[in-house]
């Protein structure tokens, strides 16, 4: 355990001559290991953990109840009807899949860009990804109505000689989300192996040793292993990067291949990807801020990490704002009446409140991060991250509901109203997410210990002859001495 008090250290300076350290405090390899392992090893987690876990478990139970009610009664318990056939289920699906993008982005894209600050947050961002994809995958599953026939979505040879329709975006989703979940899980697990081995070697009882030992696969830190491991990790990152882009692009295709005004627009794929990253980082911040307080990780998840994340939120929020504006401009520029109407209706029609919630939360609020004082003000960024989550949920609401409810035929226009089951499932999905996340915090290394060590300065015990820092690439070479 670090005996020095955990303090907020300002390592966000701009001096181009000196790279800022990624781990503050006076840490060596051992103390970093102790610091992270302590989260799982301490006999009792903080009281806040118990409180949150109880609430999450309650919500999860409520989710189970809602799903049971839905299955036994039918999809009529939702607020969906013609023409708004896609209600909360699809909104929640897109929302959660979006959140699930930050993890792989941090793991993969930032890794490829040699952004070493990722090491402090990538582990729980990846975990967050997996849990968010679990939540996301649930919704289309129950949205198909006859859940027991869900296996029709997969290309399984059958006596009906029927195959899935591969021209349908629904099938693309199955493959995209399925692949994304599998690859994210593999990526997360591959990263976890060395750290689980750490837990195995620190385990104090046989049960823990057995379980951690099983999942560590006998990892022993061999350089020959590390060599192939790093190669595989790099390639997984290179594979995951286009994968992240493809997944939310495919989700956007669900909408954009239709002919519905407001859905059919060519910028939708990159716009969805930017939105996904934006919401994902929003959620990472929402989780990271309390986690670093609760588990004493302020010296690993430093102010600089938060600063960097806020910059990404600013960048992606601005991109999302760009896409909103482009949609408006091109709707006008196209000269097509229905296009123009759809967008005017979004901003001024019956769902204007949802639209402006979305616009303000996503495009305006993050602009505060142009200022450094805002990027380093923890309570403020926590509030912004919550607003980002809210705004991104409303973005999906606006896309799904406004376009559908004003159909081509005015006679079939119909206002969408969610039922208590809809709200119950939305809230319940948070229960599922946080239950899984809290369990993860309690039992697994929430920071990639081995990776953090690799970006730390070398210990000084053995002379300065080899005094370079040989971190993950050269970007932080200057920080060693």
């Amino acid at each position: 355990m670090a005996t020095i008090p955990l303090m907020e250290v300002d390592n966000t300076w701009d001096d181009p001559r000196k790279r800022a350290p990624l781990v503050t405090g006076n840490h060596d390899y051992k103390s970093v290991t102790d610091l992270v392992a302590d989260v799982a090893e301490r006999p009792h987690p903080p009281m806040a953990w118990y409180a949150l876990f109880a609430v999450s478990l309650g919500l999860l139970g409520f989710l189970g109840f809602c799903i049971g009610y839905l299955l036994l009664t039918g999809v009529g318990v939702w607020g969906v009807n013609q023409p708004v056939a896609w209600g909360f289920a699809i909104i929640n699906f897109v929302f959660w899949v979006g959140i699930g993008h930050a993890g792989t982005l941090i793991s993969a894209i930032l890794f490829l860009f040699r952004q070493n600050w990722r090491t402090a947050i990538n582990r729980f961002a990846e975990a967050m990804t997996i849990f968010a994809v679990v939540c996301a995958g649930m919704f289309p599953g129950i949205h198909i109505g006859r859940v027991w026939l869900a296996y029709w979505l997969f290309p399984i040879p059958n006596q009906m000689a029927m195959w899935p329709q591969f021209r349908s975006p629904l099938l693309w989703d199955v493959f995209a989300v399925g692949t994304y979940f599998t690859v994210s899980l593999l990526f997360w697990y591959v990263g976890l192996i060395p750290d689980i081995a750490t837990f195995r070697d620190r385990a104090t009882n046989k049960i823990k040793q057995g379980i951690y030992g099983f999942f560590a696969l006998g990892w022993n830190g061999s350089t020959r292993h590390w060599h192939r491991y790093e190669r595989a990790y790099l390639i997984l990152a290179a594979l995951s990067t286009p994968l992240v882009l493809s997944v939310h692009s495919v989700v956007s295709f669900d909408f954009a291949v239709s002919q519905l005004p407001g859905w059919h627009t060519t910028i939708l794929p990159p716009y969805f990807v930017a939105g996904a990253i934006f919401s994902g980082f929003g959620m990472v911040l929402t989780l990271a801020i309390p986690a670093r307080e609760l588990f004493g990780l302020k010296e690993i998840i430093t102010l600089r990490h938060l600063d960097n994340m806020n910059k990404i939120i600013l960048a992606t929020g601005t991109m999302v704002g760009y896409a909103y504006s482009m949609e408006f401009f091109i709707a006008w520029y196209s000269g097509v009446e229905v296009e123009r109407f759809t967008f005017i209706s979004r901003a001024m029609g019956p769902y204007a409140a949802a639209y402006w919630t979305m616009f303000i939360c996503n495009a305006f609020v993050p602009q505060i991060f142009w200022f450094k004082w805002a990027r380093t003000n923890i309570p403020l960024m926590f509030v912004v991250s919550l607003l980002v989550n809210l705004g991104m949920w409303f973005e999906r609401y606006v896309i799904v509901v406004t376009s559908l409810s004003s159909d081509f035929l005015m006679s079939s226009w119909w206002p969408y109203r969610a039922t208590w089951v809809d709200y119950g499932m939305l809230i319940g999905s948070f229960g599922l997410f946080f239950t899984l996340f809290l369990l993860f915090c309690r039992f697994l290394p929430i920071v990639a210990i081995a990776e953090v060590k690799a970006v730390m300065p070398r210990p000084h015990s053995l002379g300065h002859g080899h005094g370079h820092s040989h971190g993950h690439g050269a970007a932080h070479r200057a920080e060693a001495h």
Partner: protein
């Protein structure tokens, strides 16, 4: 854990003596020697020294990847990327094949493949049979999926993981390798390994004092109970397969278990059933006064011979002028008859179709079932064409009307086919063409 069992008080070359100093009686053998370092920077020179000394079975263990160390150790670049590329290409081709085949190529008709493996072209929304742009997402995802699986499992396989029986992991000090310590290990299997000289070499590397790594002598066989459990688990795992195999090869008399109803069996009134809700007790409702059902308007100005089979108010004895009797008409008649009529009347028209066969077994509620009329009865043979046409159109006794399901031409085609059926069962030798008649007489 105590590390008091340090073996350095003894000569390094006693191959079986390690057990003496240990608390338990398992015989152990020297598996290798290890040196501990506390700083990664010293490893590069140490690695070079061991490599230059000609050792091959040795390794450096570190808590995190130390860059450049693989170069110092002389590890050649791994071929993993090429394997992953092959995996990715396999995924790509799988995706291309899966989409284009299952949604575009039908081999069913020629029975080249079993039914459940044949593709099926069913285009939607005006898309071509091979909609490659629409398949790109699936092809892409499968490429990534196959590559990623190859990357992870290829890496693990090449690293020989998982391996749980590693003598190093029994070494108490070695536990720090996942924390903050670095170890250089030379295995006893190395041809150059000599306990004393290797120890001397290792001592000069700048790390700590070399330490013995010991492994139990008996082979690391899994314990008995594990083997038994494995066999038992395998047996249990086979049970579902056996059940499936049995189900596929046995005939069932009972209908399948219908867990989810899917509205297959609904509570509703069927034709001819009683319904107490109505005063007359009939579930089938007569037409409301003053209304006409679809298709029931009779246009007296029309060709009633053709539309109703009537000539001068009586059943027509001939086919209407619009109907030409030829092989096409009979074939059409056979086709319609087999679809619409044969379920009750049977393919041969003798009134023993599958519906009849099922209902004749006296199931409760079906005792009153009457066998459908045979087409070959004299009474049917004597009926005029128009009469049979009318029966098809409007039904008779318990037979429902088919006027709404069958076009007028089709009904006449069925009449023609029924006549052909009747003739087939009552043909005389004189009906046979001249040339074939001789052949038959010869028998």
């Amino acid at each position: 854990m105590s590390i008091a069992a340090s073996p350095f008080s003894k000569p390094y070359d006693d191959s079986h003596g390690g057990s003496a100093s240990r608390s338990h009686a398992r015989a152990t053998a020297l598996a290798g020697l290890m040196v501990e370092f506390d700083n990664p920077d010293a490893l590069h020179d140490a690695a070079k020294a061991v490599r230059n000394a000609g050792y091959t079975k040795w390794d450096v263990h570190t808590p995190f990847p130390v860059h450049g160390l693989e170069k110092s150790m002389g590890i050649r670049p791994t071929i993993l990327p090429s394997i992953i590329l092959i995996g990715g290409l396999t995924g790509c081709l799988t995706g291309l094949f899966l989409t284009h085949y299952t949604n575009g190529i039908e081999l069913l008709r020629n029975a080249i493949v079993p039914t459940n493996l044949s593709g099926y072209p069913y285009p939607i929304s005006g898309k071509p049979t091979f909609s490659t742009p629409a398949y790109i997402p699936v092809v892409f995802e499968l490429t990534v999926l196959f590559s990623a699986l190859t990357a992870v499992f290829g890496m693990l396989a090449m690293n020989g993981l998982p391996t749980f029986w590693n003598p190093l992991l029994r070494q108490p000090r070695f536990r720090a390798v996942t924390n903050d310590r670095f170890f250089l290990v030379v295995e006893a299997r190395d041809p150059k390994f000599d306990a004393n000289s290797t120890a001397t070499m290792l001592r000069g590397l700048g790390g700590g004092e070399p330490e013995r790594v010991e492994a139990p002598v008996e082979s690391a066989e899994p314990p008995r109970w594990l083997i038994s459990a494995g066999i038992l688990a395998t047996c249990f795992a086979l049970i579902p397969l056996v059940v499936i195999a049995k189900a596929r090869n046995a005939k069932m008399r009972e209908p399948r278990i219908h867990i989810v109803q899917d509205m297959d069996n609904q509570e509703r009134y069927k034709g001819q059933m009683p319904n107490p809700a109505f005063a007359d007790g009939r579930a089938m409702r007569p037409e409301v006064d003053g209304t006409v059902a679809r298709g029931d308007i009779r246009d007296t100005r029309a060709d009633v011979h053709f539309t109703e089979g009537l000539v001068d108010g009586d059943w027509a004895a001939n086919f209407p002028a619009k109907i030409t009797i030829n092989a096409d008409l009979l074939e059409r008649g056979q086709n319609r008859f087999n679809i619409y009529c044969s379920a009750c009347h049977g393919l041969d028209g003798r009134g023993n179709g599958p519906v009849n066969a099922r209902n004749m077994d006296g199931r409760p509620g079906w005792e009153t079932w009457v066998q459908p009329t045979s087409m070959h009865d004299q009474s049917v043979r004597d009926r005029a064409h128009g009469h049979i046409f009318n029966t098809i159109t409007n039904g008779i006794r318990t037979m429902p009307p088919y006027g709404a399901s069958l076009a007028i031409e089709d009904r006449w085609a069925i009449v023609a086919y029924v006549r052909a059926l009747q003739q087939s069962s009552a043909a005389s030798l004189s009906d046979v063409p001249e040339n074939i008649r001789k052949e038959l007489e010869a028998r």
